[in-house]
């Protein structure tokens, strides 16, 4: 019932959200709703103010508008990412199909179109917060001679060819890569790939993993990187000594 409480397992009293939007009529009720649900919300009316707030403390998550006066959402997202790898949800009237939204691929964790349904936005926030604490090397992850992942750009390089990943695929891979070599349960993957409002089921994970294998494995029928642990979940493994440098990058 109180989603903020669910996210409290990460050590903070309540997940901190920095909400940036120039529209006061949206900012106030949304901040109220989020506070009501147990989040620690700070607001900013534009990019400059948001960056000033970052100077004093770092939130767990930013929600930013795309079109704002003075500094637009893209510039702000870039500035934020230059300081710290904070997850960003874009809340915008420009829908995700617009090519302007594409520019955000590299920076935004998720994209919610205005007018949003509060319950959906909340579910997305929770999903993003579940990844807090997980770290994947930003400059890329080498998993063997045929596969390297650049999850921050939603890309993989398979046998020298660049392959574009969907947001869901890269979210699942992020969870798997953060626990490289270990089994991640289907339930965990489900909660990391989809929000509650998506009403996703384990079969979503199965199908997505099968499709991912077709994208990433040289021979999808004999996978070497994306392994199934039957009845439990999945495991991402490095082949050869490719994962050796990871420990340093991970620390």
């Amino acid at each position: 019932m109180f989603p903020g409480a669910a996210a409290r397992t990460h050590g903070h009293a309540a997940p901190r959200i920095l909400l940036v939007d120039d529209d006061r009529d949206l900012l106030v009720p949304l901040a109220d709703q989020l506070r009501h649900d147990g989040f620690d919300v700070t607001t900013a009316r534009d990019g400059d103010e948001a960056l000033r707030r970052l100077d004093s403390s770092w939130p767990d998550l930013l929600i930013i508008d795309l079109l704002m006066p003075r500094m637009d959402g893209l510039t702000l997202a870039r500035e934020v990412k230059a300081r710290a790898d904070l997850p960003i949800i874009v809340l915008s009237a420009i829908d995700a199909g617009d090519n302007k939204a594409d520019l955000l691929d590299e920076f935004a964790e998720d994209y919610v179109t205005k007018p949003y349904h509060y319950s959906e936005l909340r579910a997305r926030i929770q999903r993003v917060l579940r990844r807090v604490g997980d770290r994947v090397p930003r400059k890329g992850l080498d998993l063997g001679p045929d596969l390297s992942l650049e999850l921050h750009r939603r890309q993989a390089v398979v046998g020298g060819q660049e392959v574009q990943l969907t947001p869901t695929e890269s979210r699942l891979l992020f969870a798997l890569a953060a626990n490289l070599g270990q089994t991640v349960t289907t339930e965990t993957l489900l909660s990391r790939g989809w929000a509650e409002t998506d009403e996703a089921e384990p079969s979503y994970v199965w199908v997505t993993m099968r499709r991912l294998r077709q994208k990433l494995e040289v021979d999808p029928n004999r996978p070497r990187h994306l392994l199934t642990v039957r009845g439990i979940g999945y495991r991402l493994v490095a082949v050869g000594n490719a994962g050796a440098g990871l420990d340093q990058a991970d620390v």
């Binding site: 529209d23 302007k100 594409d102 509060y118 009403e199 979503y204 199965w206 099968r210």
Partner: protein, 492 residues
Amino acid sequence: MTPDPLTSERAKPGDHVSVVVDTEPRPRRRLSLSFQTRLTLTLLAAAIVPLGVFGLVLIVTGTVEPQVGSRLLLFMFAIAVAIGILGGAVIGLDLVRPLREISAAVQRVSAGDLSQPIPVEGNDVLAQLAESHNRLAGDAERRNRQLGLILAAVESAEPRDGTAALAERAARDAERAFGFISAELRFVDPDTVEEEERIPGVSLPIRAELRAGDERLGLLLASLPATQTWERADQTLLDLYASEIGVALRNAELFEQVQDQNVQLRRLSEVKDDFLRGVSHNLQTPLTSIRSNAEAIAADSAARDPRLGTISDQADRLSRMVQQLLLVGRLESQPLRPDTDVLALGSRVQRAWDALGVRDRTLDFEDTAAGWLAIGDGDQLDQVLWALLDNAVKYGEGTVAVRIGADATAGVVWTTITDQGRGLDESDREWLFGRFERGPAGRTSGNGSGLGLYVSRALMRGMGGDLVLDPPSTGRGASFRLTLPGEPAQEA
């Protein structure tokens, strides 16, 4: 391998006479005796005729006994014939050798070998002939080289290089090919440029018109060193070059124009996209705040006021219509890049129906696609489902029937949405998926934007699926069929 007659003759010079003599008896060529034979006959005639006359005079005047005289005369004749033939052969050979060399050289030239000049000896007519042949071959070789350079220059002229760069390069190429001191291209009316004066001992002004078809683009002006000759063939070659360059320049000009237009079109398209973005932002932002405030009030108040739900639903509706309009504007300028997420159609249909907020109609829903999931873009599919269900409510009557199923062999998940309205005629099917079209009911009521089906079909096809109107059947209204790529929902 039959030996080339020319080389075999050159290899055996002693055969000359016999070869020439052999050709003589042929009746057809009776009158064209060879040069050597004619020479020999002339020598013989020159020796025998005066000798005979002299002998006859001696015999007639009685200075010599006729018997002795005729024998002596016969003997002298024999000597004259021998000397004549020998002399004819020697002189003939001496004359024929350089001629043969010239002939061989001409054959070489006509075969394309311009590299071997004929050695010139002495100062006589034959030497002059050899020299003029050598000059001819030299000229031919030079023009060949020029032609090669010109062809290379013309071939390398790419329209995308731009006119300025092309003109500059054409001038440099002309200098190199023709050996000009300098050359330039001037884009002026050729008639306004006066002929330059020739500076004796320094340079010769040369010009050629730049043409593209009938259009005169300008002039190629150049100066040639006085040491070089400029003949009609050179001018012809330069004219040819100038007209080729003219065409290349015209192409470059056209290319630049097309590029300019492309840039303008792209800019216009960007301006349009920016405008649509602005419209979207300015319409959706107030709708968002209406919606979120209504939701916030609903969450606060203990007693749920149904009117708050209506406010939310109607804001949603308005926002979807705005989205539809924007999509139409964007379909032409930006490619659709749908996500490929795993989707369960059943829950999406249910949610789209709930979002419509229709209270007085019922949904008859049956999902037989168990074990199958669709692949597509959730937001886009929602947009399509909303538009189709909204249509079914608006134009149909009674229950709206939705069936979901999977076609395992085709790997497709399908959905049909059927209303109980009067359906659509054959004639309606033609325009149904066009822009700004509405069904008969819609036309009269002025309800809806007429964009729903057009946008929906584009979205479905963008996702690798389709949207079609099912064939009409009795007892039901219009039935739309959506398809999407499907995947079996098994652990893998």
